[in-house]
Amino acid sequence: MNDPLFKIILLMVETTREAMKAAKLAIGLAGFHHARLIGLHIVDRTVIDRLQRFGDKKRSEIEIEVEENGWKYLYHVEEQATEREVGISLLQEEGLPENVIVKKAEAFHADLIVLGMPKARRGVRHFTEVNVERIIELAPCPVLTVT
C-alpha cells in the first residue's frame, strides 16, 4: 500500500469565517487521509498593541480576551474533528504568525498547512494581518489557503 499523502496537517485556527471554512476542509482532509490534525492558534502581540491603541480596553483585558477566544475556537474545532473521529492536538503560541506557523510546521514535520485567507489579505495589509505570501515562501510543505 502507498504511504498516505498527508500524515500531519497543521491548521491555523483563527476567528475569521474563512478560518472556520479552512478548519472544516482540514478536518475532511485529515479524515480522508487518516492524518493527524494539529490546531494552532497564534497570539500576535502586535495585534494586541494595535487593539489597545485604537480601543478603550486595558492591555491585560485585551490579552485575556484574545487568548481565551483563541482557546475557545481551538476547542470548537476539536469538537468538530472528534465528531468525525479525527485525531487532533491543540496548541496556542505567541509570536508573529508567519514565523510561528513555519517553525511549527518544521518542528512537527507537517505535510500540509491549512489556513483561511480573508479577502483583505489578498492585497492590502489588514488590521489582524497574516503574511500568507511569507508563509508560502518559507513553509517546508504545501500550503492550502481557503477563501
Binding site: R36, E67, E68, E79, S89, L90, Q92
Partner: protein, 151 residues
C-alpha cells in the same frame, strides 16, 4: 463564570497515582462522583476515554484537559488531579502532565463548556499558576490560587 467556584476541595486529588492516563481519569471521575456530583460514571469514563483514543488532551507545560459532554450531567464539573511523577497525555511538547483538569458538561452547555476549557488553558500557560498549584498540599488551596489569578 468563575473557574475557582467549580474547583471545590472535594473535586481535587492531590498526589494522584497511576501508570496510565486511563487510571488517572478514572480516579478523578470517581472523586467527582464521591463528592456528590450528579452524573453517570460509566458514561463519563466511556466518553472521556473515547476522546483520549483520538489523541491525548495534553496541552503542553505539563497540563492535560481530558473532557466530555454528557447526557447525564446536570452542571459543569471540574476535577483536578495533581501528579508528582506526571503522566503521558500526548502533549505536543512531550511533557508529561502533572496537572490534570477533567471537565464534564451537560450536552446543552456547549458555550460554557468551551469557556471553562478556554479559561483553564489560558491560566495554565502562566508558569506561576502552575508552580503554585504543584506546591499545593491542601485541597482547599486550589480554589484560592485559581481565584487569585482569575480575577
Amino acid at each position: 463564570m468563575n473557574l475557582y467556584e467549580k474547583l471545590d476541595a472535594s473535586n481535587v486529588v492531590l498526589n494522584i497515582e497511576g501508570k496510565r492516563r486511563t487510571q488517572i481519569i478514572e480516579k478523578i471521575i470517581q472523586q467527582l462522583h464521591h463528592a456528590g456530583a450528579a452524573f453517570d460514571e460509566e458514561e463519563a469514563l466511556e466518553k472521556v476515554l473515547k476522546r483520549e483514543e483520538l489523541g491525548g488532551t495534553g496541552i503542553g507545560f505539563g497540563v492535560a484537559l481530558p473532557h466530555a459532554r454528557l447526557n447525564s450531567a446536570e452542571d459543569i464539573l471540574v476535577g483536578l488531579g495533581i501528579s508528582k511523577k506526571g503522566i503521558d497525555f500526548e502533549a505536543m511538547d512531550g511533557q508529561p502532565a502533572r496537572l490534570i483538569f477533567l471537565v464534564l458538561a451537560p450536552e446543552k452547555e456547549a458555550e460554557t463548556y468551551l469557556k471553562v476549557m478556554a479559561r483553564i488553558s489560558r491560566l495554565m500557560r502562566k508558569e506561576e499558576v502552575r508552580e503554585e498549584l504543584l506546591c499545593c498540599d491542601i485541597e482547599s488551596d486550589v480554589a484560592s490560587i485559581i481565584e487569585k489569578y482569575e480575577s
